[in-house]
Amino acid sequence: MPMPIPPQLQIPVGATENGTITLDVAAGDHVHKYQKLAQLQMSAQGRTCIPVHAPTSGIVSAIEEAYVADHSQQKQVCIVLTTDGLDTPLPLEPPVDYKQLTCEELVTAIRRAGIVGMGGAGFPAADKIDAAAHQAVDLLIINAAECEPYISADEALIRERAEGVVTGAEILQRASSARRCVIAIESSKPDAIQALEQAIEAQSHISGSCELILVASKYPAGSEKQLIQSVSGIEIPSGQLPAQHGVLVHNVGSSYAVFQALAQGKPCISRITTLSGQALKTPKNFEALIGCSVEFLFDICGIDKSLSHKTVLGGSLMGLQLPSDNAAVGKTTNCLIAAGSAELAPSADIQACIRCGFCADACPVRLLPQQLLAFSKTANNSQLLKHGLMDCIECGACDYVCPSHIPLVSIYKDSKAAIEARQINHERSEVWQQRFQYHQYRIKKEKDRAPTRTKAVPAKKPVAESGEAGVSVSSNGDEQEFFSKEKASREIAAAVARVKARRAGSKTATSEQDKSK
């Protein structure tokens, strides 16, 4: 699984929109493996920071913005490292005995290692624990249920490094002081199950209270809320986080990274990535260094360059087509597919919905995709919301079974975007309407005031002063109104800001829910 060192790495730090980036190195610096290069301080939450470490030794040749092979679809600041092939590491701190550490110390260590949700969304693992810290965590689920077809990175990781995964799970359990720790895996993976059983057995005498739970391998078994339900029976209400119900879910990849960080003292510099697709001669799972290019990985797998291929990031159902193979692997790049010409091209002609309901039977959220489709066509937003469009996790199950080949997920994504845009516009227009109304109201007041004043105070005061006098005379009533109005519009502005913040937050949060495994 370990890979040769590519000549150049492009290590993503983060997008500037997402927070403040602090660089510890500059172009021209020589760096060692494991050396901290930079960190992203997220603006929304004060404590969140994600450090990035050098996957190997070499010289920083540039710092630039580039696209990364992950779901963010934004340009991210990347540190370009020209490797020297020596792989000289920093002397690692001798690993501490994690059993002696307190919860806070564990969380800090996890944060310092730069571990994010390895399942896809990349929400910092330490923050996830923190978010649940103020309430009793009843259940920690290590998600080993692979979400989608094609992806086998988690399975490969478990088969080969089950002990690390189990230890990592135990550390996570300590860090979050969870009462129970469960590793959930699909029943269709006997090898991985066996490996886990052995690892749990081997470690049971040392500490662990880790259990293994098999879940039916019905897509999307690894989707967070669905997994929680199949493991514990708890159905997390729409719009709430599992942590609010005493449940935490971490991906096995994260669990292994935690093991590396605490038991071996290594920060997160690589991840297991599945390389698959018909255009590859030897598809396999790799421990890919963060920052190596997709092209480099495909080359190792013997890509057939004579054939055209399409590159898909992630699985075949929720993946994303990458525009080019130059992008670098990030911490969440779980799968890269080099699809041959006939592969992953559901091109059949789209027909009308026959309301067969196959989609509804497939939907894990129990939505009615056929109804959502009809309402999307007429842009009937209130019905869309009533029918739970916003609860759609975009898993693609409905799309997959639709005999009419309707691109349902694409349609829902568009509808969601339209609804969000409308809401923002609506809120904005309300603010402006309020301001305008206040403006008119003020003008009217001024006008009303003028004659009264001239009558009441005939010639004693010059006209120029009347404005002040007017204000002071009528200050009580008017200003109260003024302030209440002003307050209202300020409140609305604040509400808009909150909504925006929430949206930005919930994007990460919901995508975290969907993809974290």
Partner: protein
Amino acid sequence: MSSMDTRAPFQHSGKNIAQLMQTLLLALLPGICASLWFFGYGILLNVLIAGFFALAAETAMLRLRGKNIALHLADRSALVCAALFAIGIPPGAPWWLVALGIIFAIVVAKHLYGGLGQNPFNPAMCGYAMLLLAFPLQMTSWHLPNEVVEGVLFVDNLGIPIAGAEQEILSPLSWRGFKQALLLSFPFAASSDFDIKAFTDGLAMATPLIEFKMAGHSALLAARDSGTSLFSRESETAWEVINIGYLCGGLLLLYKRIISWHIPLAIIATVLVVSVLFYAPGSVSIYGTPYLHLFGSATMIGAFFIATDPVSAATTRPGKIVYGIIIGLSIYSIRVWGSYLDSVAFAVLFGNFCAPALDQFCRPRIFGRGLSRAIKLVEASNESTKP
């Protein structure tokens, strides 16, 4: 749609409408074969005539609407509509009756409402109901197995020379039966008035099966008790065997997951329960036995093939069950208290009326919504299991 190709999901199960429709046609075969066996070629001719006009009407409408003809014809939905329509038409109905019905179904009930997927009412049943209202006589003149045979004998007795006619009991599948069916379907092809008159005289006139059999108990049981073969055309088991054929087809559809169990089960259960409730052993003649209601008429076709037409049915699971109950109740009440002999078409159309409302009001609970109680219960149980 090329922009869609670059968006997830990239994979598809490979199901398509044409496959579904093909399986539907396949599932109709056992029932059609049974009808063929008992009623002769008439049913086959009906299916063929309806199929032909359905395709013609579909092509014409697709052309008028500027659609991709090859793509939409290939979905075979017109053929399914034709088959469902034709199996309800009495064998021996003239060709224009069949053509009129199916053209109405395809043109008015399907395409004028926007084509596949848009029609609020089941097209086949619209065509059928239209014929039933406009041509009640032709639509209820069923050959009954015995009469077919007697008809042929009657013709023989009229003196048309057939060697050893008196001894011979002619099968409706014989050459003569074929000729008879052809002439009935295409009266213009007859060489003389006499032919047609001879044949039509042999028709069983408007014998509603349900009344015909209400007095007796199951013909299947009777046939078995008396040692007659179930498939013998004199055993009066025709409708039962045909219904069993459709039941098998329906089970195939269930097995292939082309239909869900909700609608058929709801219909059959409702008909069963209601007919049991009203069944008084002393007065069989009014309400009929539950068995008769399930196997004596078109209940099975209705439950498995017609009410499950997805486009016009309720689409949510709870909705489907209510929809099935509504249709089951309608089938029974139209049959027993209504003035129409065949109730399935009207019952299904009535169900179609209710479907949109059912979809609105009978929705499954969305994952994670409306949970406050459930969550508390789970949490409470968790609490109690805590040490």
